[in-house]
């Protein structure tokens, strides 16, 4: 009986393997002629789809443009789009499908850290490449991910000194949503605040999605702070800014300086509530260069919406495809290992300016910028770094330009 059963299991496993591998092998043989498959993995349904759909659109737009200009090494890119459905487990399944069945050499995707962490083991175990376009908390060092969004030092190292020296505000009230990103941002902020001679009076958190800000805003009012550093994310942002206004606080006297409030949240809360507040990002829709104005124009045409907004992660989703193309062309072949070697040091003129992938930690050099929001829902860039700065994913733990924890050799965990 047990023997029979074992045989049966063996057979069905063999059938299963044939079924799973067969079409995959066949497809890879056929497509070798003229096309390169790449994975595109974002949430197209569920709560996060509002943002992630736009990231998928930007990725597809870049692929479209590359194909229209002749493709990569004479081959067209064929995007295989999968839906992560705002759910970490679905992300994991879809990533497995792209890596194992479709055998793509690279996946462009993921927005939240939760989804990235969920797919990371697949890319590491199968030695595949993920291009990740979101600003995130750092504290990660994988040779299978190219990080094109900002890490904390690229949003804060110009921001905090600017708040202290230019705005003349010295007492910080740090407030954030209660999960890893705001907590890491707060850690880095405190280091920078102390280095620059400021002080922080409170460091407070509210659960994700919290929408009753009455008590928190009243604590802000009575804390004696003169600036609020906000790492609040998602729909809470809107309730926060509105309550701030309702309690009679103004951004002239007590500005909210945010790290994650982008064009999307500003549009959702009503621009008049945010007018006068600040945000730090490497990219804003309002960057007034021909390159960016063209980009916004092309994006609006691509999604057929004349009022579509662009923001930081969306721009990264776009330019990372070009960085990938250059890496493939430099390497001369389309395998994950070749792409990893090829991407090191790649430079591209993105809508926000020059971006370069760091050869050591595979994060990206970006130019920090500070914008003040106007009554029209657009930021006015009032400060920008003269040049792109080096990404330091472990800055909260003492990493500096000359002393990297994360290098091509991997993470030096003795330093943590």
């Amino acid at each position: 009986m047990s023997n029979n059963r074992r045989n049966f299991l063996k057979q069905s496993a063999a059938y299963g393997a044939t079924a799973a591998l067969g079409p995959g092998l066949w497809a890879s043989a056929a497509r070798a002629e003229s096309e390169i498959d790449v994975g595109v993995l974002f949430s197209l349904t569920g709560g996060l789809s509002i943002v992630e759909q736009s990231l998928a659109d930007a990725t597809l737009m870049a692929i479209d443009e590359i194909n229209a200009a002749g493709g990569v090494m004479g081959k067209k890119l064929n995007p295989i789009v999968e839906d992560g459905a705002s759910d970490a487990r679905t992300f994991n399944e879809r990533a497995s499908k792209l890596v194992l069945r479709d055998q793509v050499p690279t996946v462009f995707g993921c927005y939240t850290s939760a989804s990235r962490k969920a797919v990371l083991p697949i890319f590491e175990r199968r030695n595949n490449m993920l291009f990740y376009p979101t600003y995130y908390e750092g504290f990660e060092c994988s040779k299978n991910v190219v990080y094109t969004g900002a890490v904390p030092n690229q949003q804060l190292s110009n921001y905090i000194p600017w708040i202290i020296n230019t705005l003349g505000k010295k007492k910080f009230f740090i407030v954030g949503s209660n999960y890893i990103y705001p907590r890491e941002m707060a850690k880095v902020s405190k280091i920078l605040i102390e280095q620059n001679g400021g002080e922080w009076v409170a460091d407070e958190y509210l659960e994700l999605g919290h929408s009753e800000w009455g008590a928190m805003v009243s604590r802000i009012k009575s804390s004696g702070c003169d600036v609020v550093l906000s790492n609040v994310v998602g729909d809470s942002v809107i309730a926060f800014y509105r309550e701030f206004r309702n309690q009679g606080l103004t951004h002239d006297q007590l500005p909210i300086c945010a790290t994650v409030t982008s064009e999307i949240e500003i549009a959702a809360m009503g621009a008049e509530v945010a007018a006068g507040s600040f945000t730090s990002f490497p990219y804003f829709q309002a960057i007034d260069t021909t390159a960016n104005n063209d980009f916004v124009e092309r994006y609006r045409r691509f999604v057929d919406d004349s009022s579509a907004v662009t923001q930081h992660a969306l721009e990264c989703s776009y330019f990372q495809v070009y960085l990938w193309k250059q890496a493939v062309e430099k390497a001369g072949e389309v395998t994950p290992d070749a792409i990893r070697e090829g991407i090191k040091g790649q430079t591209f003129d993105a809508p926000n300016g020059k971006v370069t992938v760091d050869g050591e930690n595979l994060h990206t050099f970006l130019t920090p910028r500070i914008a003040q929001w106007g009554g029209d829902g657009q930021g006015e860039i009032i400060d920008e770094y003269p040049e792109p700065i080096k990404p330091l994913p472990y800055v909260a733990y003492g990493e500096t330009d000359g002393d990297l924890f994360c290098s091509a050799a991997g993470l030096d965990s003795s330093r943590l």
């Binding site: 709560g47 509002i50 009753e212 009455g214 008590a215 928190m216 009243s218 509105r242 009679g248 959702a268």
Partner: protein
């Protein structure tokens, strides 16, 4: 101190606003209405849509949202709930299903997204309702800083509570409602049209949820999922107050609102939430039927 009490008071008014409709549908009719939060959401979206497409301000949106939510409530009662009276656990499951349907209707723009049509103000994204500027600027009254919007919510809540009290305790239909609460069979035997009165009661409770939605839209984020947290708060208040008791609902929202306000001002919101849940558990252990209760069906 006034500021702290005012925060508690405004939390109270929001809780009461949410719980008022629920105390009627749950208390009076024995229906665990999981879709109550979604009726609040529909009220909020009514205000957003009326603002965008009809140019309505908040004052015009309030009665409109009452009517829209009441009609949706009536529909839910006619289609689902009237088949489930007396089966309390089944109403929970069925109305939960209704809640999911309502959420998805908003997210999929009533299915129009499948045809590539998009209506401004619907969809999965975040929306907001504009509040007139004069309601956003606080003013000083005898040295106290008054927040007009919160005060407005407080006034509307008091008004609606008074109206509900009047309807339930001073009108003929209120007598019928209370009779049905105590004993539906006996009420029917006395010639009360239980089905009709129940349907109207449910519609009224739903309408109150719609009004709550408009007021919440002024300071919270409007999105398809906004009802989920709302319904939890509502049930907390109703269960603590005692099912079917208007006075209990008022007092328990005051209690929970003030505890939440005071603790969150002096420590933080997360601890305040934990303390509130602790108090709720203690009260339910001490008085399983809530602060005020009477024997009912």
């Amino acid at each position: 101190m006034f500021e702290v009490l005012f925060i508690g008071l405004s939390l109270t008014s929001v809780l009461l606003l949410i719980a008022l409709g629920l105390s009627i549908t749950y208390g009076a009719m024995g229906v665990i209405n999981m879709a109550h939060g979604e009726l609040v959401m529909i009220g909020a979206y009514t205000a957003v849509l009326a603002g965008i497409h009809l140019g309505f301000n908040i004052f015009l949106s309030l009665p409109l949202a009452f009517v829209v939510a009441a009609l949706v409530g009536l529909l839910i009662e006619r289609v689902v709930i009237r088949r489930l009276y007396g089966r309390i656990i089944d109403t929970l499951l069925a109305t939960w299903g209704v809640a999911i349907i309502l959420q998805q209707l908003i997210r999929l723009e009533f299915g129009l997204t499948f045809f590539g049509i998009s209506i401004e103000g619907l969809g999965p994204g975040l929306q907001n309702m504009r509040v007139p500027t004069f309601m956003m600027e606080p003013f000083d009254l005898m040295g106290l800083s008054i927040q007009p919007y919160r005060t407005f919510i407080l006034c509307v809540t008091i008004l609606l509570t008074a109206l509900t009290w009047y309807l339930v305790y001073r009108t003929a239909i209120g007598v019928q409602v209370r009779a049905i609460m105590r004993n539906p069979q006996m009420a029917a035997a006395c010639g009360i049209d239980v089905r009709r009165v129940s349907a109207l009661t449910f519609a009224y409770g739903s309408g109150l949820a719609g009004v709550a939605g408009v007021l919440l839209a002024g300071f919270r984020t409007v999105m398809p999922e906004m009802g989920a947290t709302v319904v939890v708060d509502g049930f907390l208040v109703v269960v603590v107050g005692g099912v079917g008791s208007l006075l209990g609902t008022i007092l328990s929202s005051a209690l929970l609102g003030q505890i939440n306000g005071i603790v969150s001002v002096f420590s933080n919101d997360i601890i305040a939430r934990a303390v509130v849940f602790g108090v709720v558990i203690a009260i339910i252990l001490w008085r399983p039927r809530g602060l005020f209760s009477f024997k009912s069906r």
